[in-house]
């Protein structure tokens, strides 16, 4: 049977038709190189974020104040590691290995969510991280369940189920503390003060300053823009804070007649400083990952050897 080779233009047309028809792109389908590269960058960054995100919370497991809180925190961190696994697997379908992704992370060529470069200083930070950081993540991830790349979309469906539990457990910690002693209430407010702005930064630069947004929207990798998602998060989170007696650290907040909020802008200088490696914990987080990876090299080498012998 004779087959005709399609031109790049025809392939692109078919690809975009699929996307416009809300069909998923699968690993063996033709895709433009730019689409592949965008996904490699975005999914691996997402996977690294889950894994690096284990550190600030891991910092408090051994100091969890009750056995129940210790179990919940440990299970939550375990979930984050599991999300890292789904996402590395999704990213590997694009032809890059997990080892390569980790190497890029260590070389500074691949980033992770800047929010994890802030320090987790008190137990209330476990509440603030779950409520705000996971809350911001889920706002983004709910939208990513409809992303055009099949493996990424399916990973997000699983991840979202767990993230909504994480957000609730974080909020519950804050709620318990606000119903507790004066010390606990102060600790909870302090955590909100420190995590509010970093959580808003998680959505990235304003749409106008986000050069890749247009193509990502056109190819439906992203389904909503940074600013749209950030506003959604702000509008749903402020009432949650007020409900338990917390004050959002923004002196310009104003509830508008349509139920949305007017608010101050992010300190973009701080945002770029942290993105560019100058946050409170950038070096610490990466150094931890590199050390652990190097310390474990002999185990991986040995396990590889025995699995080869057994084969």
């Amino acid at each position: 049977m004779e087959t005709t080779k399609k031109s790049e233009k025809e392939l692109l047309l078919e690809f975009e038709e699929k996307i416009n028809g809300e069909q998923k792109i699968e690993p063996l389908d033709w895709m433009p190189e730019e689409y592949r590269q965008h996904l490699i960058r975005q999914i691996s960054q997402h996977a690294h974020s889950e894994v690096i995100g284990m550190q600030p919370e891991g910092n408090w497991i051994t100091r969890a104040p009750s056995l129940k809180s210790k179990k919940v925190l440990l299970a939550k961190i375990q979930d984050e590691g599991g999300h890292g696994l789904y996402l590395y697997s999704a990213a590997e379908t694009l032809g890059v290995t997990r080892d390569q992704f980790i190497q890029w992370l260590h070389e500074g060529k691949s980033k992770y969510a800047s929010v994890f470069n802030y320090a987790a200083l008190t137990w209330a930070d476990m509440g603030a991280i779950g409520w705000l950081v996971d809350g911001a993540a889920i706002t983004n991830q709910v939208s990513l369940q409809r992303t055009s790349y099949g493996p990424y979309s399916r990973a997000m469906v699983r991840i979202c189920k767990e993230e909504s539990f994480h957000q609730r457990q974080g909020y519950k910690i804050m709620q318990n503390m606000m119903e507790g002693t004066k010390d606990q209430q102060e600790m909870a407010q302090d955590a909100l003060n420190r995590w509010w702005w970093p959580a808003l930064m998680m959505f990235g630069p304003h749409d106008g300053d986000s050069p890749r947004t247009n193509l990502a929207m056109k190819w439906k990798i992203k389904r909503e823009t940074n600013d749209q998602l950030r506003e959604k998060f702000i509008n749903k989170t402020i009432p949650q804070a007020e409900l338990i007696g917390l004050k959002v650290p923004d002196s310009n907040l104003e509830l508008l007649t349509d139920g949305t909020y007017k608010h101050s802008d992010i300190n973009w200088d701080e945002f770029w400083q942290v993105v560019n490696g100058n946050g409170p914990c950038n070096q610490q987080r990466l150094a931890h990952h590199i050390k652990v990876h190097n310390d474990g090299a002999w185990v991986r080498e040995s396990a590889m050897l025995t699995s080869l012998i057994e084969e």
Binding site: G58, R63, A64, T181, V299
Partner: protein
């Protein structure tokens, strides 16, 4: 009642302190899958400890809750084996400590399934399911590392040798062990030791590792005498309840 509580605490404290060490290891495993497996074991152990502490609080009848028992005792009131306090020096030490403990737990809970105490019988049945998996995992790792690269073999042999001297702490009978065995509530630790020794020998043989022969043995733990490590573990674990005694989290 006091003796029975002590017997319960021996079980719970081993689980609590080992789970603390495993919790310290979160985000530090050689690869992600193993990080999750490590956390699973830690979670099982916290669950075991929590159930037993709650039962102790109920037996006491002083209006305390399980967390009060877990968190608010003095160092010499903890009666875990000295082995589970030993630090996470490297993956080989973590796995050797786990293997020795899992093998102990497996035969201990197998015997405890016949206890006349309803609670212990139930907790033994539940734990045995989890511990069977733990033992399979740690045995397989010991064999894999022992048969692996020269470095892995050497590190694992070192860990097996170094931790060996702490293992008798599981089997030396405390007063509570003797009394509870007499009441048919507790288990015969001689039987558990023989089974444990056989399992350890079998796995080390399969791993091409040597069974330690050192007879320098450290027996601490059950009578409240611990290593220096426990003080640091408790200082960290008890930090919030100590600093904010009125707080409910």
């Amino acid at each position: 009642m006091e003796t029975k509580i002590k017997y319960y605490l021996q079980i719970a404290d081993n689980a609590l302190i080992l789970s603390h060490r495993l919790s310290e290891y979160c985000s530090r495993a050689p690869f992600l899958e193993e990080d999750l497996a490590n956390t699973n074991v830690a979670l099982d152990l916290i669950g075991l400890a929590e159930a037993v502490y709650e039962e102790v609080a109920r037996m006491e009848g002083k209006g305390r809750i399980g967390d009060n028992i877990a968190y608010l005792r003095k160092e010499n009131e903890y009666v875990n084996s000295i082995l589970v306090e030993q630090p996470n020096e490297d993956f080989a030490h973590i796995m050797a400590r786990q293997f020795y403990t899992d093998a102990f737990h497996f035969y201990f809970f197998t015997e405890l399934c016949n206890s006349k105490d309803e609670f212990l019988q139930a907790i033994a049945h539940k734990s045995l399911k989890e511990v069977t998996y733990h033992l399979r995992r740690s045995s397989e790792w010991i064999i894999r590392l022992g048969k692996g690269t020269e470095e892995a073999k050497q590190r694992t042999q070192t860990a097996i040798d170094k931790l060996w001297k702490y293992t008798p702490a599981f089997f030396i009978e405390s007063k509570a062990d003797v009394q509870m065995l007499k009441n048919e509530v507790g288990v015969d630790l001689h039987t558990v030791y023989n089974q444990w020794k056989q399992k350890v020998s079998e796995v080390l043989y399969l791993a091409h590792l040597k069974i330690p022969t050192s007879d320098f043995l450290i027996k601490g733990g059950k009578e409240g005498v611990h290593s220096e490590y426990l003080g640091y573990i408790l200082a960290e674990m008890q930090f919030l309840p100590n600093k904010y005694p009125d707080a409910v989290w």
